[in-house]
């Protein structure tokens, strides 16, 4: 066991209320009643306000940190005021995308207390309750609290849950059933709905933006839960935070005894990007029948990691905006001035995997639009004008006070120590907190607001009564309100199509070839001997751009190449009879017979033309209404995967294509259709692959250019 850090410090700074002082101890009298005889009073002018006494010392007690041989970092915060101990195990992996099984981590968390290889759930519950202890499990942590005298008994059970949870099928079934009910009741909670949607729009294709729905819940199996547990609850990279009535020696012994032999897989880290940024304001509405208030959340992602040098000034900025108590701007404006609400607040959440700002509150129906106007105007004002000296000093004092009050809870000290380690902060981060808070000035605040805040690129989420929705159009930059359901899913409404599948393909071919008869179209397409397209792809998940080149050579050859900074990261080709794909990691792989068979079903620049003869299975499933627009949906299957193509009912252009293979969904949407040499092609494409969004712009589109034959070898 290696000790890495021991720190102990006293905080003593000249910030408003807190400074150095010599304290005198006073003996406390027993709780007896004493009569006080009033002496003749000095005159008292009540208009004179009391002055502060000498500022007290802020004393942050020692935290100890040590690591174990199997990779656990232990943080200990001793506090002997009460005879109790709490232990929190926090796992050390980054969250992962759960896709069509969104919610598997949540289910695993709920199931952790459902039994171990040594104890059934009944035994577990009764052993814990018998000693008055409590164990709470979540997706990424398990917490124990008990009286010191019951610690070893409690640890027996606790360690068993951490290491040997066994997720019985019957318990899994029960929790899933219970969760079905919870999902139902979540539909009636406006705050829950707003939070679902806020996460989704700020973190699209990011674990934070995944919301469990009835469909994803149904897709989760017990095996998924077991796998999640095995990959997540592992000693490497995890933390054990011990707080309370226990000394270091005992803590070391405790951890060694119970977790010394714990083994598991390596924890995993990932770069999940910074969230989804808007161009313009976006209004997202969720209907809640019968609502008497609208729940409004105005939010946007923020690029910041914990411990960033701008974190303290940004927090000051947010506190002035709406993070403080009664004196924040949002509270003063929306509650005290306009009386639109009981409370309007803002918060800034800064995490290692994504950070965001959100201002929210509940407002009676008829002031919903006025409330949005005021919140946006406060955002705009704070990004354009300096805050006042008074606001700044009030906020800094109030934050310093909050910091001091938070120290009353022993878990705060442990949380500080954990933050320092988890986020690689300087050892004296909290020691110097008040000093750095004091140093924040008005100029810095404005700089923060300009850098991180916006009134023009916000997600405006409103959960409320449908009768108010028309008043919200003005806030949406493109005037189109998006409608989502309680779980932040697009509201899809399917109707029977008014044409056949072959009529749809015909219309599509007419549209993209700008012809009116099949004969003319075929003739035009036959003249295309080759085509070359270069697409530039960017993403918030990586710097720079990817270049994707696709080539076609009549009658049946094609190739694809993906480059990053001149380096080929992936390529593939098909020469009409065989093909190959290769990438930097795995090298070359030849196409299998099945892949070749599938490939042959979609040859050409407009393969739809050949569906009737190529052996492609295709059907028109109907017309889906998504956000007020209608699309024909053509489901195709080439023997390898299902694909759903969305055709605009008015233009017949193909605007979206979703491919589902082995449970993974890849969606590509197309936009900005332009005529090039007599053919209509999209100039923009957005691809959502493996949790990443790639924005593509067509840079080169050449028809009948000369293509080097080596591309197809």
């Amino acid at each position: 066991m290696k000790k890495i850090i021991i720190f102990s410090f006293l905080l003593a700074f000249n910030l408003a209320a807190f400074a150095q002082v010599v304290k005198t101890k006073t003996t406390v009298k027993k709780g007896a009643t004493t009569k006080v005889v009033t002496k003749t009073q000095e005159p008292l002018d009540r208009a004179i306000r009391p002055k502060a006494g000498i500022a007290p010392i802020i004393n942050i007690k020692d935290s100890e940190v040590f690591t174990t041989g199997n990779g656990i970092t232990v943080v200990l915060s001793e506090n002997h005021k009460l005879p109790r101990v709490s232990i929190n195990l926090v796992t050390g992996s980054d969250p992962k995308l759960e896709g069509n099984k969104a919610g598997v981590s949540e289910i695993a968390g709920q199931l952790l207390m459902s039994g171990t290889t040594n104890r059934t759930k009944d035994v577990l519950d009764s052993e814990i309750d018998y000693i008055g202890a409590s164990i709470n499990a979540g997706s990424e942590s398990i917490f124990l609290a008990c009286l010191t005298k019951h610690l070893s008994k409690a640890m027996d059970v606790y360690a068993d849950v951490v290491m040997n949870a066994n997720f019985p099928q019957s318990e899994f079934d029960r929790i899933v059933k219970q969760q079905e009910s919870s999902l139902l009741s979540a539909k009636s909670s406006p705050d829950q709905i707003a939070s679902n949607v806020e996460s989704k729009v700020n973190f699209t294709n990011h674990p934070y933006g995944e919301v469990m729905t009835e469909a994803t819940l149904a897709a989760i199996t017990r095996e998924d839960v077991v796998n999640y547990y095995k990959n997540t609850f592992t000693p490497t990279g995890s933390y054990i935070v011990i707080v309370g009535d226990i000394n270091k020696e005992e803590a070391i012994k405790l951890v060694n005894t119970y977790f010394g032999n714990w083994k598991g897989v390596q924890n995993s880290k990932a770069d999940l990007g910074n969230g989804t940024f808007n161009k313009g304001n976006r209004v997202i509405f969720v209907k809640k029948p019968g609502a008497v208030q609208s729940t409004i959340s105005i939010s946007f992602p923020v690029i910041m990691k914990p411990g960033d040098m701008n974190q303290i000034p940004l927090t000051v900025l947010n506190t002035i905006m709406g993070g403080g108590a009664f004196k924040s701007r949002l509270m003063q404006n929306l509650r005290e001035k306009h009386a639109y609400t009981y409370g309007c607040n803002s918060r800034i959440s800064i995490t290692d995997n994504g950070s965001w700002f959100s201002a929210s509150g509940n407002f009676r129906n008829d002031v919903t639009d006025s409330a949005i106007v005021q919140i946006l105007s406060e955002l705009s004002k704070i990004t354009n004008e300096m805050v006042t000296d008074e606001e700044l000093s009030l906020t800094k004092s109030s934050m310093a006070g909050g910091f001091a009050r938070s120290l009353e809870s022993p878990s705060t000290i442990a949380r500080f120590a954990l933050n320092i380690i988890q986020n690689k902060l300087p050892k004296d981060y909290y020691q110097t907190y008040l000093k750095r808070l004091e140093a924040v000035d008005k100029g810095t605040i404005l700089e923060m607001a300009k850098k991180y805040f916006t009134a023009n690129n916000c997600n405006i989420v409103v959960v409320g009564n449908e009768e108010i929705v028309n008043k919200l159009k003005v806030f949406d930059t493109d005037g189109k309100i998006e409608f989502l359901d309680a779980f932040a899913q697009e509201i899809v409404d399917t109707k029977k199509a008014d044409i056949t599948k072959d009529q749809l393909i015909e219309q599509y071919i007419f549209a993209v070839t700008e012809t009116t008869t099949l004969k003319a179209a075929e003739k035009k397409i036959a003249k295309v001997k080759s085509m070359k397209q270069e697409l530039e792809l960017t993403s918030s998940a990586f710097p720079g751009a990817l270049k994707m080149t696709t080539l076609f050579q009549a009658p049946n050859k094609d190739a694809m190449k993906m480059e990053m900074q001149g380096m080929v990261v992936q390529k593939s080709f098909f020469d009409g009879t065989a093909g190959e794909s290769s990438n930097m990691q795995t090298g070359k792989t030849a196409m299998s017979a099945e892949e070749i068979a599938a490939k042959k079903k979609s040859i050409g620049i407009f393969p739809e033309l050949n569906y009737a003869t190529s052996g492609m299975i295709y059907e028109l499933t109907g017309i889906e209404t998504v956000n007020g627009k209608d699309y024909y949906v053509l489901k195709i299957n080439d023997g390898q995967a299902d694909k759903f193509d969305y055709y605009d009912v008015k233009t017949f252009y193909k605007v979206k294509s979703i491919q589902v293979a082995e449970g993974e969904e890849t969606a590509t949407s197309f936009d900005d259709f332009k005529s090039v040499n007599g053919f209509v092609f999209p100039q923009k494409a957005a691809m959502m692959v493996g949790g990443m969004t790639l924005e593509g712009t067509v840079k080169v589109l050449e028809i009948n250019a000369k293509i080097d034959g080596s591309n197809f070898k």
């Binding site: 807190f18 002082v21 005198t24 009298k29 009643t33 004493t34 006080v36 003749t40 009073q41 008292l44 002018d45 009540r46 208009a47 306000r49 009391p50 002055k51 502060a52 006494g53 500022a55 007290p56 005021k81 009460l82 005879p83 577990l124 519950d125 009764s126 814990i128 309750d129 018998y130 000693i131 008055g132 202890a133 409590s134 609290a145 009286l147 029960r174 059933k177 009910s181 919870s182 009741s185 809640k288 029948p289 019968g290 609502a291 008497v292 208030q293 009664f326 004196k327 009386a339 609400t341 009981y342 409370g343 009676r364 004092s397 109030s398 310093a400 006070g401 001091a404 009050r405 009353e408």
Partner: protein, 489 residues
């Protein structure tokens, strides 16, 4: 005292000690009737300053319901020496935080400040008690704010109306009939004279408990309390002082037959003028009589069944019973009885109704701890597709089992361990200690109850639990409310 020590000694059967941390405190009355409680501890350099006014919604006029709570909002508006909007700024800019809450029985205000700002806290609270000032603009704003509070907490919250629906049926005569949030029509109807009368009746020294806990020096604190609170006039003299500040010379003289000029503003109760002294003496001797409702309520003698349609997805059933006041000797046994039924994974309703039978997503049994005889509720939110009658029967089965069979020794031991854990863990914040001491003084007439809780719980027997289950879960006198989803679209 002796008896309970013996009981404690006898209970050390598993060889460990049952111990609750003793909260030391000092308490005394000021001559004007303010009760003072001081608790000193230096772990964190903060102090909680609080005043409990013994007025809640049960003291309201039935056609002015919601007034106590509304008034709580208004008392942040300012005072003779504090401008509108300045109250919270003074606290926040000095590193503190503040809030207040109103129940059926009391209104509670507090600040948590850096300990060197204790005097500021005392001054702020003395201003609120002595001469709060409410402007019209403040009244209109807070009226709307309170309406939004009701929409947010009650109307727009699934099952948010259950307390109102239940209390209004369990109580017909007693003012527990209505909720602290009250009626919005009543608030709209309120006039200036209503505010003035409310303030003059309930916000008086003899109705106040000043409770302070934290990093303080007792002697120094007492001096400041003398300075800011002992100088507040006693009895009806506080209203004499308020008139002195607010009435014109002429009106004051008409009312009291003495010129304002005879009084000294900054030394009011010690004004040297002999006539002034006479008037002060006279009014100081006039007690402030606090109107309090009769505790009694006509007995509930039948089963009342009703249905409420709400914006919910899962139906629920709530069963309400008359429970005794929180100071009743049975209160401890009732708390333990409720813990057998709900609140932990192995409690009976959680284990049987939620987990084993999967009839409900949540089930609970709890008592509203109130000053006058109050209410207990047993309730469950149904699992999807389960009939409410089935759930109600399951709840009743659990109650009947508790009435018919003594709980096992193992369950009893568990219960005691759980209460020991809860009580040892309680009182960990100075704000919580200040509030508990004040509550205990006001409701029990004994602040030291804070140190007696464990003892009281350990004195409860298995037979007591069975007895209270029989006594208070009255099969033929209860209110059953079914919550069903409103038809939408």
């Amino acid at each position: 005292m002796k008896k309970s020590f013996l009981a404690v000694a006898a209970l050390c059967f598993i060889g460990t000690s049952w111990a609750q941390r003793k909260i030391e405190y000092v308490e005394y009355d000021l001559p004007n009737g303010i009760h003072v409680i001081l608790h000193e501890e230096h772990a964190t350099p903060i102090v909680a300053v609080s005043i409990l006014y013994h007025v809640g919604s049960k003291n309201e006029n039935p056609d002015r319901t919601g007034f106590a709570h509304f008034f709580e909002h208004l008392l942040f508006e300012g005072s003779t020496n504090i401008e509108r909007g300045e109250y919270d700024r003074l606290v926040e800019s000095n590193g503190g935080t503040l809030n207040a809450n109103t129940s059926q029985d009391r209104t509670y205000y507090y600040e948590i400040l850096p300990s060197n700002q204790l005097e500021l806290g005392l001054w702020l609270e003395s201003e609120r008690l002595l001469h709060a000032k409410v402007e019209n603009v403040g009244v209109e704003t807070q009226r709307q704010v309170v309406k939004e509070e009701k929409r947010q907490r009650v109307d727009n919250q699934p099952y948010g109306s259950f307390m109102g629906e239940m209390f209004s049926r369990v109580f017909t005569k007693h003012p527990y009939n209505w909720q602290p949030i009250g009626s919005m029509e009543h608030l709209d109807a309120a006039q200036e004279i209503d505010y003035i009368n409310f303030y003059r009746t309930f916000y008086v020294p003899s109705n106040s408990t000043l409770s302070i806990a934290g990093d303080i020096n007792i002697e120094e604190t007492k001096k400041w309390i003398e300075k800011y609170f002992a100088t507040i006039p006693a009895g009806q003299a506080i209203n004499l002082y308020r008139d002195y500040e607010n009435l014109s010379d002429k009106d004051f003289e008409t009312k009291y037959s003495i010129a304002k000029a005879k009084f000294e503003k900054n030394n009011f109760i010690a004004s040297k003028d002999a006539d002034a002294q006479k008037v002060i003496k006279k009014y100081s001797a006039m007690e402030c009589v606090i109107p309090r409702p009769a505790k009694t309520e006509i007995p509930l003698d039948k089963v009342i069944i009703d249905t409420v349609y709400d914006n919910i997805q899962l139906p629920a059933v709530f069963i309400g019973y008359r429970f005794p006041e929180q100071t009743n000797a049975d209160a401890y046994a009732i708390e333990m009885m409720n813990s057998i039924l709900s609140g932990s994974s192995s409690s009976r309703m959680d284990k049987n109704i939620v987990e084993k039978k999967q009839l409900a997503v949540a089930a609970f049994s709890f008592a509203f701890g109130m000053e006058d005889p109050g209410m207990g509720i047993v309730a469950a939110i149904g699992a999807n597709g389960v009939d409410l009658k089935t759930i109600e029967k399951a709840l009743n089965d659990e109650i009947e089992q508790l009435q018919n069979e003594l709980i096992s020794q193992e369950e009893f031991d568990k219960l005691r361990n759980q209460f020991e854990n809860n009580i040892v863990s309680s009182n960990s914040s100075v704000a919580g200690i200040a509030e508990n001491l004040a509550n205990n003084h006001v409701y029990f007439g004994n602040a030291n109850i804070i140190n007696k809780e464990l003892e009281k719980y350990l004195a409860v027997t298995k037979e007591d639990i069975q007895r209270v289950a029989k006594k208070y879960f009255t099969k033929n006198a209860k209110v059953v409310l079914y919550y069903l989803p409103k038809e939408t679209n």
